[in-house]
Amino acid sequence: MPDGTDIVYAYDGSFEGLMCCVFASYEFKEIPSLIRPPSDQQTLFDTAKWIETDEHKADRVYNSIPMKISSLAQDLVKLGFLTCVPNKELLILHFLRLGFKHGGKVMTMLTDDIVCSLQKAVQHLTSESHKFKGFVRFSVYGEVLVAVIEPKNYVLPLLSPHFCDRYRSERFMIYDKTHRMALIYQSKKAELISVDELTLPEIDSAEVEYRRLWKQFFKTIAIEDRINPRCQRTLMPKRYWGQMTELNEKDAFARWQVAETGTGTRLSGTEVCTRDPLSTYRISK
């Protein structure tokens, strides 16, 4: 089988697309050296093979995983696709090839480099998403809660069940700045949509007050004799601090920069993301 250093697959970046790449790898009896999502830059003499996404093929691959390997492996692959590990597509392909060869046993082959890397990547994803269950900070705008996060992995699908359950009677949005995606929950329905930029209106006095109270609580609760910044940073690395109320150095009135494109971020009946705070600012001046 050609284990080509020159074969490159290009696909549309969807999970189904990746499943089709797996299909193609078996169909053409070849192992690509790279599977490229559309965002990556093309090289000058690009000879990448375009793999068309075909729902039927994708389903065949996806449904065969629990039958030929195990449902645990299926979960691992699904999660693996959300991770930020470089060349995750290739890792998943190799994992599946290994799985189709060895069956369910692949999940216990912990000393294998591929299995080990995929499990580590997924571990990174799940632990980051667990952290965000706590570190997400909502601000109240009228009736709507809005939070911004900057995760490494694509954690929104994992956060969705948790927050939708917790804030069942609320309307909220969590904006993932890294992946430019937003989780929007209203009238008992959750949606993931892509949003290029987000503009938030100014916060009201109640919000200012609760932020102040929370900052005060945060300061008070620390015991002076035990101050241990290193321990604090280990458990809550600084990259999370930017979007956390109690650690954000910026003034509470700091604004996100403007311009909204995206596909319909309007939450009905509210002013979230529809009003440009800068214009308000100018008027009030």
């Binding site: 480099d113 571990q123 910044p229």
Partner: protein
């Protein structure tokens, strides 16, 4: 108000899974969730407050004791509920940790706590996590009502022996503390059978109860504290026992002087031992005895145990049973489980162990793979001790870096094991 409550260590929000409900706010996650970490590195999960810092008791170690000259204030139940709900909506917190000074009498105080929680649960429809302090000396009937509103209840023992109590907390007795603890434990048991019988029986402190012991305020030894801890887990089925290094907050001839440094490392060792009791199948008497009543501050308790039992090592990784794997320094709960599943696919070697997550730096002295020790390793009991100790000396002891282990999040993470790997 939090200023007075901060000396309570417990901040876990773990132990109960509860789905959200329409029309109400909140849910609870079994694993617990840390929402932030304060500058001292401890997890902030719950809004930790006192209903009031007025107190009729005179416990010498406490800043709210009646003889201390401090400003006395109180929350109204409405204020407290508003604050909790608004923090919760913004995802600042996982729930409320409500404690109180003893105002007028234990019964009166408990009634106030019940009032506050009823308002929060029934009027504000708060469905998140609540941890409440049981007030020693309150009637059983009141404690029962309080327990039905909360997820976790705790009674702080604080001082590990009757003599210390008499000296420093003259208004409390061992009996007054252990009675509510016994009651809560009995109620939980009773409630379990009720739930089997009637599906809709209300839940009594579904996340169990916990307690806290002060370390270093009295001459009680580690052995005494650990034996007490073990007893509490067995007899009262506590979910957690917390330790708190004594912070000198008042000048008193009965207590260590104000410039005493809090025994943080000792507290750390106690937490490590606590883990060994709960997850590693150790017994208190294996770790300490009358002759060695205190932990070795240089070496962690598990290493210490291993060094005293060199005759059973080295263990063959590919044959040793799970219980024995857990006893190897450098192997934690997760890595032991992973060894079990990985070795079904063939014998493991040292590089495999490393990939699995075993801390070879420690484990290498105690294991063999396929009958061989790690290449280039010379085992003499003396050498082992020296290299393990050398490892410890690199860290300036009594220095904070080493202490990151015991902070709350580790308790709470779903995969407690993950945190343990290689740490004990």
């Amino acid at each position: 108000m939090s200023d007075s409550a901060k000396y309570d260590v417990a901040c876990t929000s773990s132990g109960v899974d509860r789905k959200g409900k329409f029309g109400s706010i909140g849910s609870a996650a079994k694993a617990g969730i840390c929402h932030s970490f304060s500058a001292d590195g401890r997890c902030i999960s719950l809004l930790k407050v006192l209903l009031t810092n007025v107190c009729i008791y005179d416990c010498q170690y406490c800043i709210n004791r009646v003889s201390n000259d401090t400003l006395r204030v109180a929350f109204t139940p409405q204020e407290l509920a508003e604050l909790t709900i608004n923090f919760y909506r913004r995802n600042y917190i996982e729930g409320l940790f409500l404690s109180s000074g003893v105002i007028k009498s234990p019964n009166y105080t408990t009634e106030q706590l019940i009032k506050a929680l009823e308002l929060l649960r029934k009027v504000y429809n708060f469905n998140g996590y609540i941890h409440v302090k049981a007030i020693p000396g309150a009637d059983s009937e009141l404690i029962t009502r309080l327990g039905l509103l909360a997820d976790r209840m705790s009674v702080n023992i604080e001082l590990p022996s009757q003599e210390s109590l008499k000296l420093l907390a003259p208004n409390k007795t061992k009996e007054s503390i252990l009675r509510p603890m016994g009651l809560i434990s009995a109620k939980i048991q009773e409630n379990c059978t009720d739930l089997v019988k009637y599906r809709h029986a209300s839940k009594f402190v579904p996340a169990g109860q916990s307690t806290q012991l002060i370390v270093g305020a009295t001459p009680d030894t580690d052995h005494k504290i650990l034996t007490l801890t073990e007893g509490l887990y067995r007899k009262y089925h506590l979910k957690r026992v917390f330790f708190s290094a004594y912070m000198p907050i008042s000048e008193n001839s009965l207590l260590p002087s104000r410039d005493t440094k809090p025994p943080l490392l000792r507290e750390h060792r106690l937490y490590q031992a606590d883990w060994l009791l709960r997850f590693y199948g150790f017994e208190a008497k294996e770790l300490l005895d009358e002759q060695n009543p205190n932990f070795n501050l240089q070496v962690d308790p598990k290493c210490n145990w291993a060094l005293n039992h060199l005759d059973i090592f080295p263990l063959e990784i590919n044959k040793a049973p799970y219980e024995m794997l857990l006893r190897v320094p450098g192997i934690g709960v997760t890595s032991a489980q992973r060894i079990l599943s990985a070795r079904r696919n063939g014998a493991l070697d040292f590089s495999g162990l490393k990939k699995i997550g075993v801390v070879l730096k420690r484990a290498q002295y105690f294991v063999t793979c396929k009958g061989k020790v790690l290449e280039g390793l010379k085992i003499t009991s003396d050498g082992t001790i020296r290299s393990l100790m050398a490892d410890q000396y690199k860290l300036p002891s009594q220095f904070p870096e080493q202490l990151s282990f015991f902070t709350e999040p580790l308790v709470k993470r779903e995969d407690v094991q993950q945190c343990l790997t290689g740490q004990i």
